[in-house]
Each structure stands twice: as C-alpha cells, then as structure tokens.
C-alpha cells in the first residue's frame, strides 16, 4: 500500500530546495578537483580548469559553426568542422580557464570586509559578469552566423537563445562558486548565508532577463534584410556573338603606345585599333585579388579572395587569408613555425561570388576558363558546367595522375593529358619562333619562364575548339612574371643594365603579340575583350580594356573599374545583369545598333555560390604549386 501523495510536502520540499536544503552540492564538477587543495591559488587553478573544460565543450562547437560561416573557405566538410571545433574548444577552454583563474584571484584579493558578509554578493557579481559576457558573445555569434543565410527562423532563434542562456547561466554559476570557494579559502566564512529569495526564483528571473537581453541585442545587431530571392532563370537575349576574354597581367599602356610606332606589335595594334578604356587598378597589387574582382564583378570584401597568399590550418581543407604585413604576418609566421598553419595560395574555397563563366554556364552558355586565379578546385556540378582549367591545370597535366580539382570536366583532362606532349611541343615551337633573344642570361631565363607559362595556356586554348564556346576566358600572366623579374626586385641597377632589361621586356611584348595573333584573329560573330592590368609593378597606375570584332564600337574610350568588366562581358553574351553587381556594363563598347536592340536587362540575383566540397583529399600539388609560384616571383 502506498502513501497518498501530500501536496503540502511537495511544496515544502520545493521551498527547502530553494533555501539551499536537500542539495548535497551539484557543484562538485567544478570544485571536485580542488577538494584536496587548501591554498586559494590552488583552488582557483583547479576549479578554473574545470570551468575551462565546460567552456570548451559548450562554446567550441558553437564557435566553429560561427567561424565557418564567417570564413567560407575555412570549413569544407564535416571533418573540417570537427577540427575547427577542437581548435576553438582548446582556445575557449584556455581563455575561460585563464579568465576564471584571474577573476577568482582578484576576488580573493578583495578587502577582508568584503569577504565576510558580502562574499556571496561579490562571487555572484563575478558570475553575472562572466555569464553576461558569454551571452553577448553567443548572441552576436548567432547574428553573424545568420547574416547571409536564410536560417533565421523565429523558432530556431528562440531555441538557440535558450541554449545560449543555459550555457551562460551555467558558466556564470561555475565562476560564481569558484570565486566563493577561493574567498572562503582565503579566510572568509566557509558557510554561505542563505538568501531570502529562493534560488530557483533567482535563476528563473535571471533566465528571463538574460533571454530578453539577448533577444534585444539580436534585434539591435540585426543587419539589413539580405536578399533571399532564389536565382532566377537567366534568359539569354543576345546578338549571337561569341566572346573571347584575354586577360593580360603586367601590361603597361604607355609601353604599348611606344611600341605601336615600331610596327612590331601588329596584333596588339589591331586589338587596340578602336581605342581603349582606361582601367583602374586596385591599390593592393595582388593578382589573385584583382583578377577575381574582374571575374566576379564584386569587390574583394564580397567575393572573398583577399590575396594570393593564404594559410591553411593544420587538419583542415579550408584556408584563411594571409595578412602580408604587421602583427598578423608575424602571428602567421609563428603558427607556421608551430605547424598549426602552412602557407597556401588563393583558391575557389574562399570564393563567395559567382564568376562570369559560372553565370554564363548557369544561363545555358558554353563557357571555358583557362589559368584564372582562384579557379582551383574546379568542379563539374550543375546541368551545364563550364570547362575549367584551373591555375593548377598545367601542374596536373605535367604530373599526370588522378585529378584533384585541377581540371573539370574529367573528359577534358583525359583528352588534354593525351595531347600534352604535343601541347608542350607547340609551346616550345612558339617560344623558339617568337621570343627574341636577349644577351643577359638572367633576363633570358626570366623571359623564357614567363613565355612558357603563356605559350602553354594559348596552346591549351587552341585545343578546346574555341568556336564551340560562347565564352573563352584566358589569363596570361607571362608579362607580369617577366616584368616583375626584370624590374620588380627593387635593387639598384646600373643604367646600362636597366636599358638591357627594358629591351628584354620589349621583347616580351613582341612575343605576346605573336602569341595572340592566331588566338585573336578576326572571326565572324566574335568579340575579343583584351583586359590588361598593370600587374605588380606599382609605378604603372592603370590598365586598359580593348574591344574588337563584330559589333564592337568604332571608337572606344573612357574609364572603367575592374568591377565593370564582368557585367560588360555578360551583357555582350546576352545575360541579364544582377542587381547585386556594383559595376555597370560598358555598353559604349558596342555599336549603336546593338545597344538599341539589346538594352541592358536586369535580374535580382545570380544566386549564392556554393563552395566546392569533397575534393582535395591529399592536396598533392599544394607544395608544388607554392614552389612554382615562388619560382615565378609570386610568393616569398
């Protein structure tokens, strides 16, 4: 026979609990390790370690999700997310341990008058401080994590805030009891006074206040509503022209003007016959950053590729931008030394905006890109994927073996790999035929290295059957490599030697002119864009854009920004322009008739770019890529 339940006893039991009875001490997790310690410092250290463990377990995974959202190139899969969570758990654990230790010791150093009757108040203040800090962090983390995503549903937000409140209360409570224990050990009264307000009411009130505060903070920190419009169908309405986009890095318009008079650059003269648009250059002379801006029509803050040099975090497939100067650089060197990070190069995992060839492919056009920065790893996802020969394609073609995102689709690699000896031979013949000799062996070697890079790209391009493509984009870095090798060292050079180097550089223009002759030969229904940027030589302040071919305007002039190139090319291809692009199509490069028949059309968005995942298992070419870029003068 069971005794009937007495509601009075239940009520009294609850009230006793709120008054500190019927509680044998759930705080053992925090104070447990300190059970044999007598000195305040030892208690603070041991209890703080447990608080660190709590913080690590609770905050590490949460922060991993946050940082993964903030740095899209960092986390490429579940494994990366786990590794980042471990890193951040260590970081937060260490930070929480240190903070708790310091806070406890500070509390223990308070005047003895505070450690008596007010010990509980002081320890609670410490707990409130830590809990509030934790809640603010978690709330802002949630806001940041959802800044660009459509995940901010009210139910999820309420759930996340409740979890955040729970974590904060727990950490605050742990800090509070640690501070109290340390104060007790120092000489205060070890027995806590019982508060008149029951503990559960205090906790409930704190939770309500914390939730309200977090919700308020969330609203205050709310960004402007992001566009969540799904990518629309891109209807192509065009004059039916194909576009070749030839990207020349390291181009000096003034040198071009001088050489035009010599009659030794007829192809370039033809390409610039209609005039040129002055193209501004980024203040930061970084090829990956600048050419990704041109390819996406978005500034670096949006497209995500901040620089050529990046750092890969140990254990992760993703990477973070590498700061070239100051404390961040020193920190990077230290983490490299500790093998926590290693140098790497810009890649498509950082890229957050669609490139013009991706947009063209989305619109159903046949597009291909060769050797553009940050195109690795290449994927062949989607119904009509572009052909991508990434900036690592040459390395893969040289080495052979299984693809690791260097070329897509796979059948293109299979074919080019079979043709690789012929491609090499074609490139060698081009160099032998077109590259003028130079007496300085160092200059000759530099020119040869640069010419090899460009000649291979053009040879590869010729094997893609350009007439079958609506868009072919080729990036030619040779001139920049040569120019940087000959003029970019910054060493004092004798005038005679400088003159020889300038002569050698002029020779490269002659080579480039010959290289482009066939590739840019006039063809029906084709427009050739030559986009030239000054490269890494800071004294050249602007580049140029030349447009030739059918439907190109007879006279071209004016100024443009790098962000104007992508919308211009897309407009010529007949693709509507996204309102998210900050640049404007340079419609004046087209004839008046085309302009009037094909006005600029707009769409809200091209949709979000998804970073490639599931690739790069072994990263076998990572080190070789860096070595190659080092040999070409790109990285130190």
């Amino acid at each position: 026979m069971t005794t009937p339940k007495d509601p009075r006893v239940d009520d009294l039991r609850q009230r006793l609990r709120s008054l500190g009875y019927l509680d044998a001490g759930v705080d053992r997790f925090v104070l447990g390790p300190a059970r044999d310690a007598r000195r305040p410092v030892a208690i603070a250290a041991l209890a703080s370690l447990r608080i660190g463990v709590l913080a690590a377990v609770l905050l590490g995974p949460a922060a991993a999700i946050g940082i993964g959202t903030r740095l899209p190139g960092l986390v490429t899969g579940t494994r990366d997310a786990l590794v980042v969570a471990v890193y951040l758990a260590l970081l937060f654990g260490t930070a929480a341990t240190a903070l708790s230790f310091v806070a406890s010791l500070v509390a223990a150093r308070l005047p003895a008058t505070l450690l008596g009757r007010r010990a509980r108040l002081v320890s609670r203040a410490a707990g409130v401080l830590v809990g509030a800090g934790c809640l603010v962090y978690l709330t802002l983390w949630w806001r940041i994590a959802n800044a660009n995503a459509a995940l901010l549903s009210p139910l999820w937000t309420v759930f996340v805030l409740l979890v955040a409140v729970g974590i904060s209360l727990l950490l605050g409570h742990a800090t509070s009891i640690t501070a109290f224990a340390v104060m007790a050990a120092r000489g205060g009264n070890a027995t806590a006074r019982v508060d008149r307000t029951p503990a559960w009411r205090l906790t409930a009130a704190a939770a309500v206040v914390a939730f309200a505060g977090a919700a308020g903070l969330l609203l205050l920190a709310a960004p402007a509503p992001a566009s969540e419009t799904p990518a629309p169908h891109l209807a192509v309405i065009s004059p039916g022209v194909r576009v070749k986009l030839v990207a020349i890095d390291g181009f000096d318009p003034a040198a071009m003007d001088a050489l035009a008079a010599t009659g030794r650059v007829p192809t370039l003269v033809r390409l610039f016959a209609n005039g040129a648009i002055r193209l501004g250059a980024d203040a930061v002379r970084d090829p990956a950053r600048e050419w990704t801006t041109i390819a996406t029509g978005q500034p670096p803050t949006v497209h995500g590729v901040q620089g050529l040099e990046t750092r890969r975090v140990a254990g992760l497939q993703g990477s973070v931008a590498s700061e070239p100067h100051g404390l961040a650089r020193a920190l990077g060197d230290v983490t490299d030394l500790l093998r926590l990070t290693r140098p790497s190069t810009a890649s498509g995992t950082e890229l957050r905006a669609k490139t013009l060839w991706e947009v063209a492919a989305d619109a159903g056009l046949r597009a291909a890109v060769i050797n553009w920065w940050a195109t690795w790893p290449a994927t062949a996802s989607g119904a009509n994927p572009p052909i991508v020969l990434s900036d690592r394609a040459t390395l893969r073609l040289e080495r052979g073996g299984a693809l690791d995102g260097e070329i897509a689709p796979v059948h293109v690699y299979d074919r080019l790999r079979g043709e690789w000896p012929a491609i090499r031979e074609q490139a060698a013949n081009t160099i032998a035929t077109l590259l003028p000799s130079t007496p300085d062996p160092d200059a000759a070697a530099a020119l040869h290295r640069a010419a090899e890079v460009d000649a291979v790209q053009v040879a590869v391009a010729s094997r893609l059957d350009p007439r079958s493509l609506d868009l072919l984009a080729v990036y030619l870095p040779g001139l920049d490599i040569a120019q940087h090798a000959l003029l970019g060292s910054g060493d004092a050079v004798a005038p005679s030697a400088l003159a020889a180097r300038l002569d050698a550089l002029r020779g490269y223009y002659f080579f480039l002119d010959g290289l482009l002759r066939e590739m840019t030969a006039p063809a029906n229904n084709e427009i050739v864009f030559v986009v030239a940027e000054p490269g890494r030589i800071a004294t050249i302040t602007r580049g140029a854009v030349a447009v030739s071919g059918e439907h190109a305007a007879a006279e071209i002039h004016g100024d443009a920004r790098p962000i104007d190139i992508a919308p211009t090319v897309l407009h010529v291809l007949g693709v509507p322009i996204s309102r998210e692009l900050p640049g404007r199509p340079l419609v004046d490069v087209l004839t008046a008739g085309v302009r009037s028949r094909f006005p600029v059309r707009q769409v809200d968005t091209y949709g979000r770019r998804t970073s490639p995942a599931g690739l790069r298992e072994g990263q076998p070419l990572d080190r070789e890529m860096i070595e190659r870029l080092r040999s070409l003068g790109y990285v130190r």
């Binding site: 009294l12 008054l19 009875y21 019927l22 447990g32 059970r35 310690a37 208690i43 000489g187 027995t191």
Partner: protein, 286 residues
C-alpha cells in the same frame, strides 16, 4: 532509536574537556554554568565536531577544544532560551531549568560566562590564523544570523501565524547555524581543504534542519521521560508539523538526512559514522 555505539567514546572526550573547563564547584555562577553544561546530554554538536575532524584526517583530541566550545555556546543558548522573558521553560535535560535552580540573574551571568569561555578557549587552543577562522564561524553562529537572530525571530513569532520562510529562519538560527559551525570547526581543526569544509557544512546544514524537524515531532508525540522536555511546550508556536503534518514532517526529515549523507560522498566509507549520526537523527525518539 538509540545513539550509535561509537557515540559514548566521543561523548566521554567532550565531557572530559567540559569538566576541565567548567568544574562543578565554587561560586553560584560557576555552579550554574556547570549545572547546564554538565547535565546529561547527547552531545550531538561536539560529537559532530570530533567526527568531522577525524574524517578530515585529524585526531579527535585536536578538535576537542573546538568541540567543547561549541557545547559551551549551546549550553549558554539553552539557559537564555529557557528564561522567563523568553520561553519560560520549566524543564531542560530532564531537570529544572537553570534560572529556576539559580535564579534569573545568575542564569544570565552564567550564560554570558559560558559564551566568553567558549571564545577564550578557542583562541587559547589554536594558532592565531585558525583560531581567528573558528572564532569567526562561532561568532557567526551566535549573532544575528545565528542563535540571537533565531531566538529573536522565535520570540516575535510566538502566538503569531508565521510563514514557512520565517520558520526556516528561526530553525536555521537556533539550530542549523551552530551545527554548521560545529562541523566546519572540526574540519578546520584537522586542516581540511575548502571543499571538505563545504561538503561537511552542507551535511551539517541538512542534518541541523532534520534535527529540528524531529524536535518538533517529538514535541507533538514524544515521551517526556525520554525527551527531557515538557510535551507540547511549543504549542503556541508554528512548527514544521503545522505545515506538513506529522507524516510529512517525518518524510522531510528523512529526505534531509539522505541529502546530508549525499554530501558525504567524497569521503567514501570513512564517513560511515556521520551517516550513522544522520540515521540516528532521522529516527530518534529522544
């Protein structure tokens, strides 16, 4: 339920120390002091001090000055509680209360003498830092948050309807505070770590309230020949039984004793004697 078998050993130790401190001879005040201090008693508080000291690795002898001081304070509080201006109790520890035997003035003086002797004994028996901590604990258990505060609240509550929080405050002041101080002083005398002190304080806090609840129960249904007090002496007061009924009060006392035992977990089997003490408190009939 009878006292645990090991009790007598510790009682003897406490009694010896108390006899040495308060010999039953000399002037009226001194005899008055001894009358209450040396009266037959279970010595639950001093035994608690001694057990806690042993549990924390010390010897009982190390803690006997503290244990004796705790009992002196308790005795002083009994004398004062029984005064006509307070509870006006006729019986204590099976005989006439102190003021009925020696007169009110002598009883008051004896109580004050006992209090001062308690603090003096602690300060003489331990090195200064430890003595300071113990004195702080003991004075806290006597002051506004302890016996004085509890008794004052109790007086004001007589013939009044009080709420549960007030009742708890009274019991904490009159019983719980000295229980906690007794346990903590024992642990400190053995040089225990803060965590051990905290665990034993939690034990004593729960045990103290259980002790008081059982006291309330005994007042309702106890045998005066066993309790040594007049039954229904608390009839004008609100007690735990008023809130929960007899069965509920006994249930809560058991739960409090269970919780006290939980607080002993870090000590393992070494704390079995304290577990026996809590079992005795939960089932006592005297």
């Amino acid at each position: 339920m009878h006292l645990p078998s090991f009790f007598s050993e510790y009682q003897r130790l406490a009694d010896d120390e108390l006899r040495r401190l308060v010999p039953d001879r000399g002037e009226a005040v001194q005899r008055s002091m001894a009358y209450t201090v040396l009266a037959p008693s279970k010595r639950v508080r001093p035994v608690l001090t001694l057990l806690c000291a042993e549990l924390c690795g010390g010897r009982a002898a190390q803690a006997s000055p503290a244990a004796a001081s705790v009992e002196l304070i308790h005795a002083a509080s009994l004398i004062l509680d029984d005064l006509p201006s307070m509870d006006d109790a006729p019986l204590r520890r099976g005989r006439a209360t102190n003021h009925r035997e020696f007169g009110e003035a002598i009883a008051i003086l004896a109580a004050f003498a006992l209090l001062n002797e308690a603090f003096g004994h602690v300060s003489r028996s331990y090195e200064p830092a430890l003595a300071t901590r113990m004195t702080s604990l003991l004075s806290g258990s006597v002051g506004l948050d302890g016996l004085v505060g509890g008794q004052a609240a109790d007086l004001l509550a007589t013939d009044q309807q009080i709420d549960f929080d007030m009742l708890e405050r009274i019991h904490r002041g009159k019983t719980g505070a000295l229980f906690v101080a007794a346990a903590a002083c024992g642990a400190l005398a053995a040089g225990a770590a803060a965590h051990a002190v905290a665990s034993l304080s939690a034990y004593a806090k729960n045990l103290g309230l259980a002790f008081q609840i059982v006291d309330d129960l005994l007042d309702v249904e106890g045998d005066p020949s066993e309790t040594g007090k007049a039954v229904r002496g608390d009839a004008r007061k609100t007690t735990f039984v008023s809130f929960s009924g007899v069965a509920g009060a006994r249930q809560l006392a058991r739960e409090l004793c269970d919780t006290a035992n939980l607080a002993l977990q870090p000590f393992g089997r070494r704390a079995d004697r304290l577990r026996e003490l809590s079992a005795f408190v939960a089932g006592r009939s005297m």
